[in-house]
């Protein structure tokens, strides 16, 4: 958070105005207050996603290297710090998912072919349902309950 000042040329016309102006302020509540907080937390949430994916890559890599490597990695996941990280990451990603879903409908065109875009509530509800379903099914598969 070193450079909170905005660039001083925000919204400057290409030719300087005819009288001297005061420099623009950055948005007054950025980054900590109001909705900005959610936005930043959401952005950082994707970085969490990035870390989790890298761990997933490590897991598959270990899988490729053989049983011993895989076991060792899984055992290391038992370390309290790892559990803490995974718990935070889980909560964070669930929140990221929910925010992502609620922001999703309006990114879609009002009409898709001959169909009208469903009401936001319907779309968001659908996404929640898919999310819950996917999480349950994938967990079940991973946990060996189904597959």
């Amino acid at each position: 958070m070193s450079e909170l000042r905005p660039r001083l040329d925000a919204m400057r016309p290409s030719k300087p105005g005819s009288t001297r102006t005061a420099d623009p302020r950055p948005p007054d509540q950025f980054p900590g207050k109001g909705n900005y907080f959610g936005y930043i937390a959401f952005g950082l949430g994707s970085s969490v996603m990035l870390l989790v994916s890298m761990n997933l890559l490590r897991s598959i890599w270990a899988l490729m290297e053989g049983e011993a490597a895989f076991r060792a990695l899984m055992d290391s996941f038992g370390h309290p710090l790892y559990v803490l990280f995974h718990t935070i990451a889980f909560a964070w990603l669930v929140w990221v998912a929910l925010r992502f879903f609620s922001l999703f409908p309006k990114t879609q065109p009002f009409r898709m072919g001959p169909f009208q875009r469903p009401a936001d509530g319907v779309l968001v509800g659908g996404l929640y349902a898919i999310f819950a379903g996917a999480t349950v099914v994938v967990s079940a598969i991973l946990a060996g309950a189904i597959f």
Binding site: R12, G17, T19, T21, A22, D28, F30, Y39, K106, Q108
Partner: protein
Amino acid sequence: MANQQTKTIVVTRFDPDVDEVPKTQEYEIPVEADWKVLDALNYIKDHVDPTLSHRWSCRMAVCGSCGMNVNGVPKLTCKQALSDYGDRVEVQPLANFPVVRDLVVEVDGFMEKFKKVKPWIIEAKEAAVTEGTNRQSHAELMDFKQFSMCINCMLCYSACPVVSNEPDFLGPAAIALGHRYNQDTRDHGSAERNEIFRDDGGVFSCSYANECAEVCPKSVDPSGGIQQAKLNNVLDWAQGFVVRRGEN
């Protein structure tokens, strides 16, 4: 009056002839229950300090002149009730804009961005007026109507973190406006506009902070429009691989 109340209005003052940087000035004034923030400013101008400069005209939330940051949040001052705030209300010029004087900000930078998106109907062929009107279904109208509701109040520019940091960013209102024309069945200029949209400072500079939609007083939802424009650009770009642009 029995229930006469007073509030302290803290206003940013800046006179380029005198002041190096903006300062604040406080006015304690009597207020009435149904006042908007603008009424307080006009009271100050008329009865306390005629040197205060601010823009306003329609006082009915449609001309877009009176945008300011009130307690840190961009608001149309003629629409924002004063009673929503406590005893101290801070009124500042819009953030992210150079300040010309007091509460008046520099608009020309915005006008340049606005013009960049070619906000007019680009027709495939010019038709004579004698051919009458185009036909357009209600559903086709609804594809862009929302994005045509922008009053150019620039609140969204004051709220957007990308505007502060990327001077070339077209910004929420301008992109939503370009998208409005792209979505209009009467227009045939989307290829031209998409090229501008894909350029530096175009749609992909937006990081979907969504603050523009939060502050928009007219429910234009520029952020939704920008994401839709991104989607269109991805499709348009993908199509460009298959058929090199030219026909259409």
